[in-house]
């Protein structure tokens, strides 16, 4: 490693000890910088949290996708197992269709999709336009848009078309990857990373002990640079440049500040005018109702989208179809995802009522669900997905160009306000951190 020019600069302050914050700290350490990670809660991990049941069930908050490449980059590959298969289906008219190509077995959907392809493209201004022009009105109106609306909590004609990212590589590349998955008996990752290339050699893996393994591994290298129970109360700026943070009422100078907070929270920590518009950006909350059942492979596939009105949730996954080690042998975990707004009736609903709602709906897919029921556990995430509301589209796009404050980065899924999965978030964070490091080195040399 090349030596850095001697600098008497203060450490870099990092806000949040989730995957992005810890990855940023580790990269800075590798680049020869001092960094301190401030975590408001008493445990590391942020959104990558794992809970264990005494009976041996492992619950992670929400769905996470990890590839062998990402696991290798952060040094946890030996702690992960290969995911041999992963698939998604759509439950419609009482049966499961493979997603996305299986939907084409329905002649109406096929006709609509073909028409959409050959029709001259109209201008696309909303997510509703985008889905209709990409997949045809039939699939859009009956499948995609109802899901999108439950998921985001807004009508699709009020959402940015940017929520509908296309499959990287297109249809032929996707088919080739699907074939390679079958040939290699590995769940080849398709559409889960845009920052690094897809290939037959990049597949899903998952930590044996759940998602918390990632942050635990990242932290071992960092030692006491991670300070839990230390919320950042203010971000200090001078002349449009971040210069420090306030923690426990104490001002701490910083060479730069890297925030992984939801961006409205970051904006609330400063007086900087230019950041204030970001306070209007909103996130969708999610309630995850985990149902423990006897049996295994009870759902049609790992993830089942449920656009029908008879389902109170928008998707139901059987994580253990892909990661069987997360439940004791002979049992499984079914997770129903509910879109919510913090404080609304879904968010505050009693756990037992949620459990009953899911069991009732689940019986349509798994008739024996009640008989095989073992218990449930409800988890909640207040910042599950950014909502791409057209009302603040300009502000969202402005954030994509940076915070506008020198030496202040807003990184990670919540910090970037982006629909990105863990690996993309990681590569993007590294890139931003390296650019910041180069900038700091340059200023020392000058």
């Amino acid at each position: 490693m090349s030596a850095r020019p001697a600098a008497d600069e203060a450490p870099i302050a990092i806000i949040g000890s989730g995957v992005s914050g810890l990855a940023a700290a580790r990269e800075l350490m590798h680049l020869g910088f001092d960094a301190t990670v401030y975590e408001s809660s008493n445990q590391i991990g942020g959104m990558a949290d794992t809970q264990r049941d005494p009976d041996g069930f492992i619950f992670d908050t929400g769905a996470h996708f990890i590839t062998n490449r990402f696991a290798t980059a952060i040094g946890i590959a030996p702690l992960c197992r290969t995911v041999h298969r992963y698939g998604e289906t759509v439950w419609s008219d009482g049966r499961a269709y493979d997603y996305p190509f299986g939907l084409m077995r329905n002649p109406r959907y096929l006709r609509g999709a073909i028409n959409a392809r050959i029709r001259s493209k109209r201008s696309v201004e909303t997510a509703a336009d985008q889905f209709r022009s990409e997949y045809g009105s039939e699939i859009a109106d009956e499948v995609a848009l109802p899901l999108l609306e439950q998921w985001s909590g807004l009508p699709a004609d009020r959402l940015s078309p940017a929520v509908a990212d296309k499959l990287p590589g297109g249809i032929l590349a996707t088919l080739a990857l699907k074939l390679s998955a079958r040939a290699t008996n590995r769940a080849v990752a398709i559409g889960y990373c845009r920052e690094a290339p897809q290939s037959a050699n990049v597949w899903h893996v998952y930590p044996e002990n759940g998602i918390a393994t990632i942050c635990a591994a990242l932290t071992t290298e960092l030692g006491d640079a991670v300070q839990t129970g230390n919320p950042v109360e203010r971000v200090l700026t001078t002349d449009g440049r971040a210069v420090g943070v306030v923690v426990n009422g104490r001002e701490i100078p910083a060479a730069a500040v890297i925030s992984t907070l939801p961006v409205p929270h970051l904006a609330a920590l400063t007086d900087e005018e230019s950041l204030q518009p970001f306070r209007e950006l909103r996130y969708r909350a999610m309630v995850f109702v985990n149902i423990m059942l006897r049996g295994c492979d009870v759902m049609p596939d790992t993830l089942t989208w449920t656009p029908g009105v008879e389902f109170p949730c928008f998707r139901i996954s059987e994580t253990t179809r892909s990661m069987p080690w997360l439940a004791p042998t002979g049992s499984t975990i079914i997770t129903a995802d509910f879109g919510a707004t913090v404080g609304d009736s879904t968010w505050t609903e009693d756990d037992q009522v949620l459990e009953e709602m899911v069991l009732k709906a689940l019986c349509a897919i798994v008739p024996s669900a009640r008989r095989d029921f073992l218990g449930s556990r409800v988890l909640r995430s207040a910042f599950a997905y950014p909502i791409f509301d057209l009302a603040y589209e300009e502000t969202r796009l402005a954030l994509g160009r940076g915070t506008g404050i020198e030496r202040l980065l807003s990184v990670g899924r919540n910090g970037e306000f982006a629909h990105i999965l863990m690996e993309d978030s990681y590569w993007r964070t590294l890139r931003q951190v390296r650019a910041l490091a180069a900038q700091l080195n340059e200023s020392v040399q000058n």
Partner: protein, 324 residues
């Protein structure tokens, strides 16, 4: 499956030319050949220099683990490799003598990373009698084998080796530079050891080759996971040498069946092919080696051969040796 093997201790790496970590992921793989650890490894490419390197890579105190006792460079002998040994010996002797043809009859020549002394032995047998041949080898097991062959070997790193007062007329790095922790430091050390105008011959795996383009995501034989830490194409190798105080005499590509053979072998092994099929692709398999030699000869004609062969000369303009 979670392995019971011990995971390696690793450390972060950076580009050996520009010193930054501005890199993008290229491939991910495992030690398909020796299975010395349960780890997988990531190869990244410097977005500035094009150097491909392992990040993270095994730390220095894992060398004994990742170079097991049966490692081929320690034990490439006629008894085990038969006709392949004979063919390779003849071919490599011819190549070496061609590269070193302008040297005086009493030239002092150093082979850095000489392994079991294979190349020095070839020069001793087929070069002028007056050539003074020496080797440097970090691994004590390989150094011992080379000494048993009657070759003078300095055990250690080139940067630290005590090689006496007189300088060398030529230094060879034959399939060595990719194993080094700091290639620029090694090249600068070599630069100081050479007489002005002295030659540096480098042979290394070529990331500009067709087999890299095809298999770079995982199975490329040239990764030799996790033992090859820095990998070059013609332009990045030239850049490294230039910055280390050398002038380029010639860079070309060279035919070799080894990486092709291992690329196929690694893929078959990774996909769980029958053992007999996997073992058909090995250094002990003359048929596979011959077929890929012919195939790679065509790639060499298109300047995309499996190996890079570069001859550099210590820059005449550099009066004073470079600082390390």
């Amino acid at each position: 499956m979670i392995s019971s093997q011990r995971a390696l201790e690793t450390q972060p790496a950076c580009c050996c030319i520009c010193g930054t970590r501005d890199a993008e992921p290229v491939g991910v793989g495992e030690d398909f050949e020796y299975r010395t650890s349960p780890d997988s490894f990531l190869a990244v490419r410097c977005t500035r220099c094009g150097v491909v390197y392992l990040d993270p890579r095994p730390s220095m105190n894992e060398l004994e683990t990742i170079y097991p006792d049966d490692y081929h460079a320690f034990a490439f002998d006629e008894a085990r490799f038969g006709i392949v040994y004979k063919a390779r010996s003849r071919l490599e002797a011819r190549r070496l003598l061609k590269a070193l043809s302008g040297l005086p009859s009493d030239a002092r020549i150093l082979d850095v990373g000489c392994g079991d002394g294979f190349h020095l032995d070839l020069l001793r047998q087929s070069g002028p009698n007056g050539w003074r041949l020496e080797g440097v080898e970090l691994d004590h097991r390989a150094a011992t084998i080379a000494r048993q062959r009657g070759i003078s070997v300095h055990q250690g790193r080139i940067e630290d080796a005590d090689l006496g007062q007189s300088r060398f007329d030529a230094v060879m790095l034959i399939q060595t530079i990719e194993h080094l922790a700091d290639p620029m430091r090694a090249l600068k050390a070599i630069q100081r050891l050479l007489v002005p105008g002295g030659l540096l011959l480098i042979v290394t795996d070529n990331t500009g080759s067709l087999d890299f383009a095809i298999a770079k995501r995982r199975h490329w034989g040239g990764y030799h996971w996790p033992r090859h830490w820095y990998l070059f194409n013609a332009s990045s190798l030239k850049e490294l040498a230039t910055r280390s105080g050398f002038e380029t005499v010639d860079i070309s590509t060279m035919t070799s069946p080894v990486n092709w053979t291992y690329s196929v072998r690694n893929a078959l092994d990774d996909w769980g092919a029958p053992r007999r099929l996997v073992d058909f692709f090995s250094l002990e398999s003359p048929v596979a080696l011959a077929a890929f030699t012919v195939f790679d000869a065509f790639n060499t004609l298109a300047r995309r051969g499996a190996l890079l062969r570069a001859v550099f000369a210590r820059a005449q303009s550099t009066e004073e040796p470079l600082e390390s």
